[in-house]
Structures are given as C-alpha cells and as structure tokens.
C-alpha cells in the first residue's frame, strides 16, 4: 500500500468536485497539498468520437443505464475527468428561490445560493444561443408552446465555440461545452491541485481514504502509478454523485451513526417523447436543448424540455415493437422530441444501499402521484407536438402506437392513465439527487448546511447528494453553488488545523 499525505482530498471531479477544486485553487497555490481522485479516465480529444454506444461506455456508469432494484427506471450518470458535466447539454439555470425555501435547511438561504450561482454562470460563459443557431426541433417546441399560450423560456447554455454537433450527451467532440473538464479542473491544476484519474476510492477512513489506481486503455496516463493507496488528509470532500457518494460512505463504516445516509434519494424521472412531421426537419444538427416549458411545474409537477437523442436511445424510449416501431425509426430526420421531467418528492423509502460486493443499489418506487404527472405530461407534450404541426405523435401510454393529428381533440381518451405502466412506458432519470441530504437533524439529514457530515469535522459532501429535495430544474449550477459553499468551509477548517 502506497502512503500519501495531503491537506485535502476531493473524491470525484464532476460539478461538485470540480467546483471544490477550483475554489481551493488559491489554497493549493499557497502550498496546500490537494488532490482530486476521479474514478474514470481523462479522455484525449480524439477519443470523443460521437458514436453512441462507444461514448456511453466511455463516459457513463453502466453505459448510462443503471437499473433501479425493481428494474422500473434507468439512471444515467457520468464518469471521467469532469464527471457528468462532460455529458450534460450545458443548460444552466439557477434554482428558483422558492425551492431553496422549501428545502428548509437552517442556515442555507436562497440569496447565498443565488449569489454563488451567478459566479458559476460567469465562470462558464453562460449565454443564450443566437436565433440563427436554433434548429427546427427547438423552434417547433417554442412555437407550439406559444400557440397554446404556455410559458416557454430559452435555456442559457455554457458553450464556447459550439459547432452544433448535437452530441452533447456523448461528450462534445468540439470541446465547446464548458463543463468542469474545460473550466474548473484545468484552472485548479494550474494552481497546483493534482487530478488523479483512473482512481477508484474504495472507502473513507478516519481523515483519509483508501483508493486504487488501475491503468485504463483510454485517455491520458493517471498522475499516480497503478497501485493501492492509503491517503491521509486533513479534510475529505466526497463529490461522487448522488448514487456513489452515499454508497461510498455506507461501505466506509464511519465512526458515527448516520441513520439518514442513503435515504431521500430523488430524481426527475423522465420520458422521451417523439412526434413525426411530414417533412424532414433540422433536429440532429445544432444544439439539442434550447427551450423549456414550466407551465405545469407547480400544478402538474413536471417540466417539458426540448431534446434530441440518438438511434438506440430513441428506439428504446418508444413503447411498442415490430413494423410500426421500425417505420417511425426509419425517418429519424422527421422526428421532433420532447423530454418530460417529473418533479418527484424526496421520500425516505427511495434510497441507496449496497449489494454484497459493496456496489450501489437504488430503490426507487414510482408513486401514483409521479405516474399521474407523467400521464399529464404525455398529454401536454402531444398538444405541443400537434400545435407545432406534427402529423402524428407517439405516446408510450397511448391506446395505439401513433395518434394522428386528426385525433388531437381526443387525447384524454387515447392516452388513458391506465396505460402508464412502468416497464411498458420506459422511464429514465439523469438528474439524481439526495442520499446525503443537508439539514440540522441526524434523523433526516447527513450533513449540516455547509456540507459537513454530522459528527465528523474532517468529512464533507459537496455534490447533488446534498439536495434535501429535488431541484425542480436542471441541477448542475446549484450543485456547483453548494460545492462552492462547502469549499469555503473546508478552506477555513484546513487553515485552522
């Protein structure tokens, strides 16, 4: 076992780990020894090929399809230098203050989160795309919403030099997306933070952790030689994401009881919906995600967003099979797509536990209320598609595979609630939150409002697992804002010791 002595060890390099590394950069420049341990590789530019299966294997855990225990939902989360910020679409929204208020974490106020979010937007070159760069898939959504009189907003996005490859979810092949792999991690490295890739942390120990560096056929060489490491540090910051952070702490056998560890895991369970137009539209060229509709965020508990996916992802997101499925798939250039995000409550029974080998297992029950939201969202999406001029719509809960535009007035009848059957209706989630939630009480939280684990002054969490409830928006800016808070506390504590 190789021994390493550090001041701060950060586990994970996504939105949380990247933000902590960046905020601690000045400390490193002043001589502190800080390392980020990242499970995945740092891909070379030519390894971003845009090939669906290849990139899913390279950049996601379980290829983006980790199954919940009951097989009812798949979970997508990234791995590699930059974590999930390599594979999101770069949509950069700040959390509505009412959500922070609803989280009800003593000591966490919305104003502070918003101030730190502004800093993230500035760092990441967040802006609106020019009208000329919006493709038909996005314009049709906007125009459909407007015709219905529904609220529709443009997403600010964090790109620089975007060429419109439309491959954001497979890692931008043009290095345009300003994830932590492009902004925070390189900045931290310039100040002396070391990022160690291909390094899997096995467990956290008293003021330290045990990790293994394994050579990878992909990406750059790790900063550390292959082997097993015992790392001692004044502070350990866990930023491995909402699945892996609770799992890591669960298998670490910490010297304190944390009854809420792993509990209150939540997500935005999602559907990918598809409609067919009479002619080819521009959909795969251009940035894939420019608009969202939050008309129903409060009343129906769902958001609608533009999206555009790849052949396999599209095919598996449709209900049905055989000739009708093939006919729809055979004209991908005529497809318009909408992503439904249901806003699900955090419940203690939805949780992360461990399998016999110490790997994460996620229990997630799809409540009736959630399925109601998905049902309403399917009907609302169909209305947008038809208002945008689509010829036919595929609703996975529909009585038949396709609903024609001539039937647009019969959506309540043709998309019955009884058709929303998990398994038949493919449900996936990418915004994973909770499991190490902030709060003040041991019974329902794992950390305080600064991300410090209750009872362990040297251990912190700084990622989406801190969220006490769902964010109700795409979460990365909020993750970075909270991580910035945590880093402030870490810097103060390391300075004291």
């Amino acid at each position: 076992m190789i021994e390493k002595e550090l001041d701060v060890v950060i586990i994970g390099s996504g939105a949380g780990g990247g933000a902590v590394a960046s905020a601690l950069g000045p400390l490193a420049a002043a001589g502190a020894r800080i390392a980020v341990l990242e499970w995945g590789p740092k891909l070379r530019e030519h390894e971003f090929t845009g090939q669906e299966l290849e990139m899913a294997r390279r950049l996601y855990f379980d290829r983006g399809g980790m199954l919940t225990r009951d097989l009812g939902m798949t979970l997508a989360f990234g791995r590699g230098y930059g974590g999930s910020t390599v594979v999101y679409t770069g949509t950069s929204l700040t959390i509505p203050p009412r959500v922070v208020v609803k989280w009800n974490v003593p000591g966490l106020d919305a104003e502070d989160v918003l101030r730190r979010s502004e800093k993230v937007l500035e760092q990441n070159n967040v802006h609106l795309l020019d009208e000329a760069l919006l493709n038909d898939n996005n314009r049709l959504f906007r125009d459909g919403c407007r015709r219905l009189g529904w609220a529709v907003e443009q997403f600010p996005i964090n790109v620089k030099g975007c060429q419109g490859a439309g491959l954001c979810n497979l890692g931008c092949p043009n290095a345009a997306k300003q994830g932590t792999h492009r902004v925070q991690l390189p900045a931290a490295e310039r100040q002396g933070v070391k990022v160690v890739t291909n390094c899997r942390v096995e467990r956290v120990e008293e003021r330290g952790c045990v990790a293994t560096v394994v050579p990878s056929p992909l990406g750059e060489l790790s900063a550390w030689e292959p082997g097993e490491y015992r790392i001692r540090a004044k502070a350990v910051v866990v930023c491995a994401g909402a699945v892996n952070s609770p799992a890591l702490l669960l298998r670490s056998k910490l010297p304190v009881a944390l009854p809420a560890l792993g509990l209150y895991f939540t997500a935005h369970p999602a559907l990918i919906l598809v409609a067919q137009h009479a002619r080819a539209i521009t959909n795969h060229h251009g940035h894939p995600k420019s608009f969202y509709c939050d008309q129903f965020a409060r009343t129906g508990r769902f958001l609608l967003e533009t999206c555009m996916y790849f052949p396999f992802t599209t095919a598996k997101s449709l209900a049905g099979f055989g000739a009708e499925h093939s006919r729809l798939m055979s004209g991908m250039d005529r497809l318009q797509m909408i992503l439904v995000l249901a806003l699900d409550d955090a419940r203690p029974e939805n949780r992360v536990t461990l399998d016999s080998r110490g790997g994460p297992v996620v229990d997630y029950s799809l409540s009736d209320r959630l399925l109601d939201s998905l049902h309403e969202a399917m009907k609302a999406s169909a209305r947008i598609f038809f208002a945008a001029g689509a010829e036919r719509v595929h609703a996975p809960a529909g009585q038949r595979f396709l609903i024609e535009s001539s039937e647009r007035d019969r959506l309540d009848e043709l998309i019955p609630r009884s058709g929303v059957k998990p398994g038949k209706v493919p449900i996936a989630a990418a915004h994973l939150m909770g499991g190490c939630r902030m709060g003040s009480s041991l019974t329902d939280s794992v950390t305080d409002c600064w991300g410090q684990v209750h009872g362990l002054p040297w251990l912190y969490v700084a990622d989406a697992s801190l969220f006490p409830g769902c964010a109700e928006i795409n979460p990365y800016v909020t993750i970075m804002a909270l991580a910035d808070r945590v880093a402030e506390r870490v810097a103060a504590s390391v300075g004291k010791n």
Binding site: D70, Q163, G164, A165, G286, P311, F321, P422
Partner: protein
Amino acid sequence: MGVLGQREWDFLFRVSQRIVPEAQRLGPDGRKQFRAIAEEALSERPSVLQRQFRLFLAVVRYAPAARYLAPFDWLDATRQDAVLAWFQDCPLGLVRKGFWGLKSLVYMGYYGRAEVWDSIGYRPDTRGNERLRVVR
C-alpha cells in the same frame, strides 16, 4: 463462450426479427456485429441480471405453450407478435420490465451499428451549425 449459449442466441435472434423486422435482412457481418454488441452489453451486467435475462428468454420461448400448445419458435409471425404484445402489456410489472430489457438489447444490437444510421435519416455532423446554414 459468451453469456448466451448458441441455442439461446439463435432464439434471441429469432425474437429480434419480430422486434425489428429489418433484422431479417442482416447479412453475416451485420449479424456478427449485432451479436457482438448484445453480448458485450450483457457481459457487463451483474451475473444476477444475466441469469434473469436468460430465464426471461426461456419464459418467452416456452410460455406460449400454455395458450397455443407450442413454443414460440413454432408459431406463425402473427401469433409470435401477439405473444410479444402480451409480454409488453402483461399485468405483472416484472414481466413488462423484462420485455423492455429484451427489446432494449435488440435495439442496441440493431440501431447501435453505424451502418444503419444513414438509412434511418440519422446523419450526425460535428459541424452541425454549417448544415443548419445550408438548409436555410
């Protein structure tokens, strides 16, 4: 040997042709690719899931005997489709989820191949914005 034996693979490929009819037209290279993709994806899953998948394949194969007095392979295409539709809509959630897993594997094997993309109108371009300007 991979996760699936030859007989299981042959059966999976027969089912695949009902799920994606175009799979019938795959040549030897296409079939080889299809199998390699499916095998690799299966091999990366936990052994419990691999066993569940093999069991589910066996259920799809022999369950039709309860209704048609014949396994899946002996049924005509219409009945095979009816059996698969039953699995998709089954009152038991676990069966529906199993069928979704089966379908997903088939779609991965078929649509995951770059060879098919142009024919279905999927033509990604790293300079997508230039293509947008040309269209306009």
